[in-house]
């Protein structure tokens, strides 16, 4: 069987298109590369949705934590503490069983026990907390002069936030936020090992990598393939975020522009 055939059979296997059964014997390198690559669809899906939605909640949480109103500040602080202080792995487990319990009483929660929705929600809340803390830090280090100048020019309320505070906050937070995005993508590999079942063996890249490692009893092929895919994904994320970084800092002379440095922050 040619490699092209394998790709057409298994290229979209992780979302249920193509061959129904996973290969069980005669694993070729092509099988492993194709299936693990197909699993990356899930990693990218989880990462993108959580990141895109989390961006807004993170901004809200950061503003809440910086707020003088007790009723806004305390919930934001607790939210950040809850999600940053506990392992993501446990959060996944807890959320899964919580949804399972809710489902048995309320019909509405039916889809929440599936990874595509339930895990996305956990990742969304988790990244909101981490990014919220980053944004909060940036909000605290906005130069006082910028804010005073805005007042002097007659900016106030939402206009001031929209035109002055928010862009500066983004600019300061962006290098750290890039790292957060990378580690969010890495964290997506936990999903199918933490309660959420892989429906009809439609799992993410690590799910297939461990499938091959279990079947062939040889970890030296699937995991390096997985590593290769993730290094590629990391490079793409860094590339895209650098573009945004350049735009955010376009008013600064080039030697003052902060560079995005990759600083591994590890498991959450």
């Amino acid at each position: 069987m040619s490699c092209l055939q394998t790709i057409s059979d298994y290229g979209l296997r992780s979302i249920g298109i193509g061959e129904r059964l996973l290969p069980t014997t005669d694993f070729t390198l092509c099988h492993q590369v194709t299936l693990i690559g197909s699993g990356m669809i899930w990693n990218i899906y989880f990462g993108l949705i959580a990141l895109a939605a989390g961006f807004f909640l993170a901004t809200a949480v950061a503003l809440g934590k910086a707020s003088e109103n007790l009723w806004l500040r305390k919930p934001s602080e607790w939210f950040i503490f809850l999600f940053r202080g506990s392992p993501l792995f446990i959060q996944f487990f807890f959320a899964y069983f919580l949804f399972l319990n809710l489902r048995s009483t309320i019909e509405f929660f039916e889809p929440f026990t599936a990874a595509w929705l339930g895990a996305t929600i956990v990742l969304f809340l988790n990244t909101s907390a981490y990014a919220g803390e980053i944004f909060y830090g940036a909000l605290q280090s906005i130069p006082k002069g910028d804010s005073e100048a805005a007042d002097a020019f007659g900016f106030s309320g939402f206009t001031k936030f929209r035109k002055i505070v928010w862009p500066t906050m983004m600019r300061l937070a962006w290098p750290a936020y890039t790292n957060e995005a990378i580690f969010l993508f890495h964290a997506t590999t936990l999903v199918f090992f933490s309660g959420f079942p892989a429906w009809r063996q439609q799992g993410d890249a690590l799910y297939y990598a461990s499938y091959f490692a279990d079947k062939t009893f040889n970890p030296f092929v699937p995991y390096p393939i997985l590593a290769g895919y993730f290094i590629l994904l990391t490079l793409i994320v860094i590339g895209l975020f650098s573009l945004v970084n350049r735009r955010l800092n376009r008013h600064l002379p080039s030697e003052f522009r902060p560079k995005i440095r990759y600083r591994p922050k590890l498991i959450r």
Partner: protein, 294 residues
Amino acid sequence: MFEYCTNPDTLGSLAWASCYLTTGKHLSFYSSFGTVLVLLAITAPVALAFGFGGAAMARSKVRVARWFGKAYIAIVRGVPDIAFFMFFVIALDQGFEYLLHQVNCPDWDQPIRQGNDFIVCSAAKLPLSTSPQWIHEIYGFFLAVLTFAIVFGAFAANVIFGAMNAVPRAQIETAGAYGMTTGQTFWRIIVPQMWVYALPGLSNLWMVLIKATPLLFLLGVEDIVYWARELGGTKHARFTDYPHGDWRMWYFLVLLVFYLAFTKVSEVVLNRLMRRLSHGQATAGGEALRRAAV
């Protein structure tokens, strides 16, 4: 555990809860919290040693050692760490068995990898199939500790490497001017001074290490996650003394609270430690302390 638990009247009363929470399985659950703490207590120093070695190698003059150290640090980059965990456990196991195989069975002529199987002679099996259960458990735990130490050693090496470079250059040059050898400079000048620079990174690492302990479950150790799933699952009257529905959610809530408390306590302790170490240091933290005292 208690005498009155044999009396069916306690069912439904508060005394029942005390019976339920002291079953043998629950005691195993509690002791698995100990497993997690033991893992942390062993892994942290070992990982620190690995990190120290890696960092020292990465700044070595010998090219091979430097490459090795740099490569070790670089494995943390770009790849999800959970993949390392799953990789190292199998890879280490097979590596040990392969080495034992070479030593114990030199006249074995078949290839070790036969298709999808990894076959070594029975004398090279780890642990030996004849050994008692506790050796199997200890061996699994040992593999987990080693895996954690390798992965976190790489992270620690990254931090310590940065801290060693943060020691002011003038200090090292002065040491050279006083005629110290490279080794003396390293041990007498760099190592004592680097800790204050390394501590923020290392405390961050400690928090991460705490939050990584549930991954023990993936390495096949019977840890708190394992027991929470076991005990929380639906029980039927036929199989256990205390049947109940699906309580896994509550068990994981307990774990969640445990971790939150643990990270909170660590944070407070580490902040105190940082305060103490910063005292009188020429860093921003030390300066802030000095200003506050004036």
